[in-house]
Amino acid sequence: MFRKWLILAGLLVALSLVVVGCETVDTSALENEISERDAKIAELEAMVMDLEGTAEMPAEMAGSRLQTVLDRGKLICASRNDVPGYGFLDEAGNNVGFDIDLCRAVAAAVLGDANAFEIRLITAAERGPTIQSGEVDMLVRTVTWTTSRDAQWGNYTQTMFYDGQGFLVQKDLGISSSLELRDATVCVTQGTTTELNLQDFSNQNDLNITALTFEDTDAVVAAYQSQQCDAFTNDRSQLAAISSAFENRDAHVILPETISEEPLGPVVPHGDEQWYDIVKTVMAILIYSEAYGVTSDAVPAESTGDTKVDRLFGLEGSFGQETLGLSQTVAQDVIGSVGNYGEIYDRNLGPGGINLPREGGRNALWADAACSDCPKGGQIYSAPLR
């Protein structure tokens, strides 16, 4: 009996040696092959240089993310449907919100149809693995830009909303500052920067805060509302959005301190620079259309006489559309179907949505393009389109 197993084990070892052995073939032959390939690569590179010289760059390279999206016929975005204003379901069951509109804008730019998108619902903690694996084209789920996420998750394209972390508490606790949260239990959503910042804040101020961590924001809200925890921490705009749906909104208050920087924006998978540039450009189109005062109901289809506006809407010159593999009139598709940054903000986060003030705040435009010498004081700014 024992001998039989010994023989079997021996055979298996021999077999695995063979498998390993197969990989260490004669190296001289390989080296020859490598030098041949190097020569071929150099040749090809020279050809590409020539092509670039003649301005006929093959933008849609096989296997690129752009080609994948075009072949698929729809854009896949990872997002959410549990926070009003950002990602939510309307009464008809459609995905709506600021994040969703950014996804629609990219769908309109790439496929010419703002509804050619699919929302993959994920929890906060699933964001990293989802974008790392490249199974979605874009992650727009109130994602804070941090250096380690930029290094590990994917490429951050453009900050589309400036937020900061705050605390929501019940008014009858009678506290007026986050620094009074000593020995408190605080509810937080798992896998968020807020979870990490909470620890820093507690340590720095020696507050001995106990964190109660839930996977879903819905469970966090339920625990907060039944006072299983004393405070609820999240990005301030999300606290405002979520508490706006409370029955007794007036019984809650967001404490004045902002304890962190939370720049939010879309993320694309690592490893495809063309796709990265496309998403950045679409965000720039949204921002500059507002700066030029062009809204969805008045998209110019013929020359307006203003060179900058004409260039943006593909009526004159170029801002790099061909190189990116986008159509000449991409801005007409995007703005015509989704609207400019200001419209998206107003519809979801402004008066048409959860009513966060914008004028004079960080999420105002840096300046009107028509009047670059009269800044509006905001931080919404992107690479100029030219």
Binding site: L15, G128, A184, G191, T213, S226, D230, H270
Partner: protein
């Protein structure tokens, strides 16, 4: 002609053609399946490796010694945010192990009661048990966990919670009760060592006296003597440690509200999330265990019960001494599966706010490579499950029919 003869010689082994020879067929099959397994495993790892490199997915385990710097809600081991990832992982694993052990004990006890009730002659008892089983094993566990989560939330909040004699606090933050706590751990460990030793002595004493009773027929009171010896040694140990270290090994710590928010500190708190999780897991698993127990008992021939009854054993005594020991053989293997299920099902805890291993691991993916974390997570659950299987199988071996 000679060539063909030689070939025939090769093609036959001991007069049987190779393609019909049992030994050859067996070995071919073994080698083929071996190749298949090796190929599968190799493909699997090559695929992981390639994907990691293609997508530049971070990996590696160097983060384990780094500071974790993230909160863990509840923890039975002491934990601070400056502790390492590895230690934090251990803290979270302890949280899961505790749920698993307590859950297994409670679910088994409840399952046996419900299972026995299921075959009771009393119509009402048996039907109630039937409804219990069918309801709880047919509703998805996550739904049940959320149900118990909301039941716990429906308790009054901590500042309006129930207080009994300033010792027992019940609110939606959890149940807090007095608990021994050690100020000097070397004293505490010294005493625990004494207790362990006294238990060993008691067990030896119990065995010796039982044997004496069996041999001589003289009443030797093994249980009483053993208990007395254990208690006496423990008390003596307590007094000795108290004198040697200048303080008692353990003192009772009472829970009490603390600070602006009246959160309970001191004593021992079973958090709201843990209560909901344990309740959900225990009830869900016990409904499966009940069916296993029923099946086990019914698998013992009815003649056994009748024989026991005709010997004059009361119904409960017949169950305890005759039917149940025989049923155990059928019950144990599927019961171990249920223990494993309970342990793995506890990974749903993150949904209701208990910091179990899976919950903390998911948080870790924020600041550490997800691939490595999930590998560690899989390894940890595998280790726990294998330990359960091992213990269960050893027990199973000890109760199987002798000579089988």
């Amino acid at each position: 002609m000679i060539m063909i003869e030689a070939l025939r010689g090769f093609a036959y082994y001991k007069g049987v053609p190779l393609w019909r020879h049992a030994l050859v067929l067996q070995w071919t099959l073994q080698i083929l399946s071996g190749v298949l397994v090796v190929a599968l495993v190799t493909t699997f790892f090559t695929n992981i490796n390639n994907t990691i490199q293609d997508r530049e997915i971070p990996h590696g385990f160097s983060f384990l010694s780094r500071e974790y710097q993230t909160p863990i809600g509840q923890h039975f081991l002491p934990y601070e945010s400056s502790d390492s990832f590895l230690y934090a992982f251990g803290v979270a694993a302890t949280n899961t192990i505790i749920v698993s052990i307590v859950g297994v004990i409670l679910a088994t006890a409840l399952g046996i009661v419900v299972g026995v009730a299921r075959i009771s002659g009393n119509w009402l008892v048996s039907r109630t048990s039937l409804i219990y089983i069918e309801v709880f094993r047919n509703v998805p566990l996550l739904v049940q966990l959320f149900f118990w989560f909301y039941v716990v939330l429906a308790l009054p909040p901590v500042r309006q919670g129930y207080v009994f004699a300033d010792k027992l606090y019940i609110n939606n933050g959890g149940v807090s009760l007095p608990w021994p706590s050690a100020s000097n751990w070397s004293a505490a460990w010294a005493w625990l060592a004494v207790v362990l030793a006294s238990l060993l002595v008691a067990m030896v004493l119990h065995r010796v006296l039982t044997r004496r009773e069996a041999h001589t027929g003289q009443s030797s009171y093994p249980l009483v003597s053993g208990s007395v010896a254990a208690v006496a040694m423990s008390v003596a140990g307590w007094l000795f440690v108290n004198a040697a270290f200048g303080e008692a090994p353990f003192a009772i710590s009472d829970p009490a509200p603390q600070g602006t928010f009246g959160r309970i500190a001191g004593g021992f708190t079973i958090s709201g999330g843990l209560m909901a999780l344990l309740t959900g897991l225990v009830i869900y698993t016990s409904s499966f265990i009940a069916e296993i127990v029923r099946a086990g008992i019914q698998s013992v021939g009815h003649g056994q019960t009748e024989a026991a009854r005709s010997l004059g054993l009361a119904p409960m005594a017949a169950l305890r001494h005759v039917t149940f020991p025989q049923a155990l053989r059928v019950i144990i293997p599927p019961l171990i599966s249920q223990f494993l299920n309970l342990t793995k099902n506890s990974s749903l805890a993150g949904a209701i706010g208990y910091s179990d291993l899976a919950n903390v691991a998911k948080t870790m993916t924020q600041t550490a490579p997800a691939v490595s974390i999930y590998l560690l997570l899989a390894a940890a659950y595998l280790a726990m499950s294998l330990t359960y299987s091992l213990i269960g199988n050893l027990y199973n071996r000890s109760i199987r029919l002798v000579g089988n």
